[in-house]
Amino acid sequence: MLALIYFIILAVIAVGAACCVFLSKHPLYGGLSLVLTMLSLAGIYGLLGSPFIGVVQIMVYAGAIMMLLVFVISVLNAAKDNRTPMFDGTSIFVLIGVLGLAGLIGFALVLTPLGFDATTLRGSVEMTSSNLFDTAQTGPGYFVLFEVLGLLLLSSMGAAVLMAKKRLGSDASVEAASEEAIAEEKEEK
């Protein structure tokens, strides 16, 4: 009973903050509402018995990703073109399509028999680490996926630095290259 009350409180906060994201005018307010959604979702993870995912949600989502997003919004000063309308003519069709999709999936979910299993494992740090780093031959092999994710994060960081760098392959580097070429020609002479 108490779990249901906590769940309802957290769910109302999550859905309300998500509606704030959908309806807010300034992206900074939207980002802060999204942080509130993520914090209440972390509470729901703890309520369900997966505290490790909840902590990772707070650290990575609310702490890193949303901090980056809010920082970029502040740096780019995107508030200065506030004449852009929030929605346009096609938005109403998008809303109808999304509502239809949600209705269909909800109908299918209601018809599905679901129940909590009493023997389900608690998502603690011990359970997560012993499964994630199980390098046995017969194990689930999540550690390979873990290494691949490290490579993915490294390559995305490199791609982001290359893309957001100012004047890549333009004046500065071309001039430097031509200066080097001129210096080499002088040395040859």
Binding site: A18, Q57, T128, A164
Partner: protein
């Protein structure tokens, strides 16, 4: 009345619908990114909610996969924000309708 798994799935569905609507209907490109993040969050919640309906051996996967999903979301946000910075520097606009270089 106790907490039922269907409530969690309904919350995840609602959040996913709001995130999808935000990503598709809003014109500001920051809201498009935020809508994608919201939809990814809802999928993680659905994973954990379904994992709790399974017996011990099968309930592990549903609690490990969201960690990978969160890491992929971090990579996606990193590249997406770099793209937004790049386009904003060229166009001086956050309206995604102005980004129609190919008249699409």
């Amino acid at each position: 009345m106790e907490l039922q798994p269907i409530f969690i799935q309904m919350l995840a569905l609602l959040l996913f619908a709001i995130g999808l609507a935000t990503a598709l209907a809003r014109r500001n490109v920051f809201f498009v990114l935020m809508g994608i993040e919201l939809a990814l969050n809802a999928v993680n919640l659905s994973f954990v909610g379904f994992a709790k309906t399974l017996p011990a051996a099968e309930s592990v996967a549903g609690q490990i996969v969201p960690l990978f999903s969160i890491a992929v979301a971090a990579a996606e946000a990193c590249v997406g924000l770099a793209l937004v910075i790049l386009i904003f520097r060229n166009r001086e606009s956050v309206d995604s309708d102005n980004y129609s270089n190919m008249k699409g």
